[in-house]
């Protein structure tokens, strides 16, 4: 019994705590913050329409639906009102602070504080404007939360220049493992959700998606004459998503799995116009599974040395 416990403990230690490079986490920080910044720049002229008190969905409606504990712009606006700052001005101030925090996060300046501020403001914006949110907000929120709790500022950051950080650490490995496992949950869940519908088995799903004016970047009506191709794309997507853990954790399969996932997201970006979403998913996958040389080397060395 003791031997089994020791072996389980050693296995867990090897998987979660073998020291590795923190560069993937730096990639996560810079990539996620850059994309969040790009998003706020792209929406700059529409902020009040999407998030304003008297926007398309008024706070009275949107904030009346969200949970009591969710952060909301109405709280900040109410607090700022004592200085005669209007709700619209409050939204712009919050957006301005968010922008500054994201820039600090990109450069790794006061990384933890910048990540905390970015994460809270992003949550606030997506709570008050939850009706306008789509996948990119979901993953930006997850990425920013991980930037708060993970050691993402230890490489390629101004903080690291000032304080000096270890090149390898067991905490980097644990963080990357959490990200990897979270992505496994995401892809398996989305693949299984697709498999529950008939459109993904008949190929109609990709046809309907590409024929929608909101997504369609090209005339894809020719696809109706190649049903087998539509079916192949749908089946391939489901296979890749449901088998994601297998494709990404098996070293040999990852050589095909990682490029296939990147191609899937590039396809979504190119053919459906969801560029930011695609870029965010590519960032998360790359941070989690790109074979950063140092990580592999460190894991291999510790394995050879029998470190547990």
């Amino acid at each position: 019994m003791n031997s089994i416990n020791t072996r389980i403990s050693a296995g867990l230690h090897h998987f979660f705590f073998t020291p590795s490079s923190g560069r993937p986490l730096a990639f996560l920080r810079i990539g996620a913050a850059l994309l969040a910044l790009l998003q706020i720049v792209l929406l700059n002229s529409s902020l009040l329409m999407l998030y304003g008190r008297h926007g398309l969905v008024q706070w009275l409606l949107s904030e009346g639906i969200i949970s009591d504990y969710a952060l909301r712009l109405g709280w900040i606006a109410g607090w700022l009102a004592r200085w005669n700052i209007s709700p619209d001005q409050a939204v712009m101030i919050v957006a301005g602070i968010y922008t500054v925090a994201l820039i600090a996060l990109i450069f790794g300046l006061f990384t933890r504080g910048a990540a905390l501020l970015s994460w809270l403001i992003h949550f606030m914006l997506t709570s008050s404007g939850f009706m306008s949110s789509y996948g990119v907000e979901t993953f930006t929120h997850i990425a920013l939360f991980y930037c708060v709790v993970m050691p993402v500022g230890h490489h390629f950051s101004l903080d690291a220049r000032r304080h000096g950080r270890p090149l390898f650490s067991e905490w980097y490995t644990l963080s990357v493992r959490v990200l990897q496992l979270h992505l496994c949950i995401v892809y398996m869940a989305t693949g299984l959700e697709k498999a529950a519908g008939t459109q993904w088995w008949t190929g109609e799903a990709i046809w309907r998606a590409l024929m929608q004016m909101q997504f369609g970047q090209f005339d894809m009506s020719w696809l109706a004459h190649y049903t087998w191709l539509a079916r192949l794309i749908c089946w391939g997507t489901m296979l890749l998503e449901i088998s994601y853990p297998l494709f990404m954790f098996h070293p040999r399969l990852r050589r095909f799995g990682y490029p296939a996932i990147i191609m899937l997201h590039l396809g979504i970006g190119l053919f459906m116009g969801l560029g930011l979403f695609a870029a965010m998913m590519i960032t998360l996958n790359t941070a989690a599974f790109w074979p950063f040389k140092e990580r592999e080397t460190a894991i291999a060395k510790s394995h050879l040395a029998g470190i547990h």
Binding site: S9, L12, H13, F16, F17, L42, L43, S45, S46, L50, H54, L56, V57, Q58, L61, S67, Y69, A70, F123, M131, S132, S133, Y134, G135, T138, H141, I142, F145, W171, L174, R177, V178, I185, V186, M188, T190, E193, K194, A195, A196, G197, T198, W200, E204, A205, W207, R208, A209, M211, Q212, M213, Q214, S221, L223, A224, A230, G273, L274, G275, L276
Partner: protein, 165 residues
């Protein structure tokens, strides 16, 4: 493993458990309004662990759009669509908002809110009609047989500017 490692591993696995159960629609295992359920929901909302990942699944419905017919004091009419902007990110979010018109309980409130916004943007408007339309895409086989996507109206409400205010 050291105690510190065990602690952090347990926290990490608990976080992933919340993410996995939420993704599997298993939040309902806790009775609503209990402290545990609220803690679960709160934690999930703040950390992003409570998400359900049903992108384009299980089915893809008809495309939605909203047309605002604006009438000014002289009776001149114009049709406005907000989601026809060059900014794709903005359009995607607008269409997400419009998606809530498919929720019966939200429809009237959504129409009022959208009309109110349009009145604030177009000062000369005295009447705004909010028309929710869907674009039905035929199955591939029907498309091959000559059927084409068609728009159909689903909901419409007209609002007059309140001149008292």
């Amino acid at each position: 493993m050291k105690r510190k490692q065990w602690c952090w591993l347990a926290i990490a696995l608990l976080h992933l458990l919340v993410a996995a159960l939420s993704a599997a629609h298993l939040q309902v295992i806790f009775p609503r309004r209990t402290l545990l359920a609220q803690a679960w929901q709160g934690y999930g909302a703040y950390t992003g662990a409570s998400n359900i990942f049903s992108f384009f699944a299980p089915e893809i419905g008809d495309e939605i759009a909203v047309i605002y017919t604006v009438v000014d004091r002289n009776g001149k009419q114009m049709a406005v669509r907000l989601e026809n902007n060059a900014n794709h990110e903005r359009n995607t979010r607008l269409i997400n908002i419009y998606g809530f018109f498919s929720v019966d309980e939200a429809r009237e409130l959504m129409a009022q809110s959208c009309a109110s916004y349009m009145f604030s943007q177009i000062p000369q408007a005295v009447l705004i009609r909010v028309v929710v339309v869907y674009r039905a895409i035929p199955p591939m086989q029907d498309y091959r047989n000559g059927q084409r996507p068609r728009w159909y109206s689903s909901f419409s409400r007209a609002y007059r500017r309140n001149t008292d205010s």
